[in-house]
Amino acid sequence: MRIKDGFVLRDVLGDNVIIAEGLEASVDFGRLLCLNETAAWLWEEAVRQSDFTISSLAKALCEEYNVSEEKAQTDVTAIVEKWNVKGMIKE
């Protein structure tokens, strides 16, 4: 899966937010979505990987944050599901 075009991660005085800037992106999105530090890191990793899966992100999270595979899998699944509900993911 990929992150849809037009969604951009921006820093607002230390807070991480997703803004819908592309044309398709902005239609249903609302103004902005806050991400905590882990979610922001995952977002950047997802952009880096370009085409990613829950597993590929979980693996990267394990390596970066020194958490168990199981915890990583759970956390990533929850975060990506949230992005999906917001319409930011395309298969």
Binding site: G6, V8, R10, D11, V12, L13, D15, V17, I19, E21, G22, L23, S26, R31, L32, C34
Partner: protein
């Protein structure tokens, strides 16, 4: 005179008319006119004839009442805007990819709205990367500082400005619709503009910004400081910008972030009464 120069918020641009008759009443632009300059940021050339590009691909359209602005591209990668009112063609604006040249084919009626909107579009495109942002706001000045009132159309921005004018001595109206904010030497300043359709207020003045208030209608008066995130979100809604070009989006974000860092921003729920203006001023006015 075929070629006119204007300076708005410190940015100089020129307008060239194909023939000697502008055919557009430019009272609103008069205070911003200036003598010729070698360093214009962009030039808008106006032709008074019909021209419809055959390779226009629409990307986006914005509808407000009977006015439609359709945005898209032409085959050479140029940006193109088509303006209509009541389903009647007004004009086509074609912009070069570096946003330095615009060509306007202006032939319908409502030339004034078409001209104003076209110049506004080109101005935004050319300046978004220069710490400049075009706002949808009403602005007053008092004692050397300016205060911006933000809010969706119909919220009561103009009304609130009027209340300040009526009840707070020393208040003046800077612009009632589309002021320009620019970061200059580490300071956020607001400028009058030739775009102030609601109340004709075309003043070539500028002030340091004392505060920004986002308004909301309520059956009571209450004001509080906004967190940086809320402030940023308010700015996003109030700035007229084209964000699907990443460069422009980056530029606008920088300006928005800077404003949040420099200017106190407030959220006010209020009635359209004198008390609202007095409470607001008491809270936000720079001492």
């Amino acid at each position: 005179m075929n070629l006119e120069y204007y300076k708005v918020a410190g940015h100089i641009f020129s307008v060239y008319y194909e023939d000697n008759n502008p055919s557009v009443n430019l009272t609103s632009f008069e205070p911003f006119r200036q003598s010729s300059s070698k360093s214009d940021l962009f030039r808008l050339t106006i032709y008074k004839r019909k021209y419809i590009p055959t390779d226009f691909v629409e990307v986006f359209s914005q509808v407000e009442e009977s006015y439609v602005i359709s945005c898209g591209t032409l085959s050479e990668g140029k940006r193109c805007f088509h303006l209509q009112a009541n389903q009647i063609d007004l004009c086509w604006l074609i912009v070069s990819s570096d946003y330095r040249e615009g060509t306007l084919y202006l032939y319908g009626y409502s030339r004034r709205w078409a001209f104003e909107t076209s110049t506004m579009i080109l101005y935004t495109l050319a300046t978004s990367n220069m710490q400049t942002a075009l706002f949808h706001a009403s602005v007053v000045s008092k004692n050397g500082y300016a205060y911006l009132f933000l809010g969706k159309s119909g919220t009561g921005k103009s009304t609130h400005s009027q209340l300040w004018l009526n009840h707070l001595e020393g208040t003046e109206l800077v612009n009632d619709d589309n002021p320009i904010v620019r970061i200059v030497d580490g300071e956020a300043r607001v400028y009058g503009s030739p775009w102030s359709g609601k109340t004709p207020c075309y003043r070539n003045v500028n002030y340091p910004i004392g505060g920004i208030v986002s308004l909301s209608q309520a059956p009571y008066n209450h004001i509080k400081r906004m967190t940086p995130l809320s402030a940023y979100a308010s700015l996003l809604s109030s700035i007229i910008g084209i964000r699907w070009d990443r460069n422009l989006a980056d530029g606008l974000h920088e300006t928005e972030r800077t404003i949040v860092g420099l200017v106190p921003m407030w959220y006010m729920e209020c009635l359209p009464n004198a008390e609202a203006a007095l409470l607001c001023a008491k809270e936000i006015e720079v001492k």
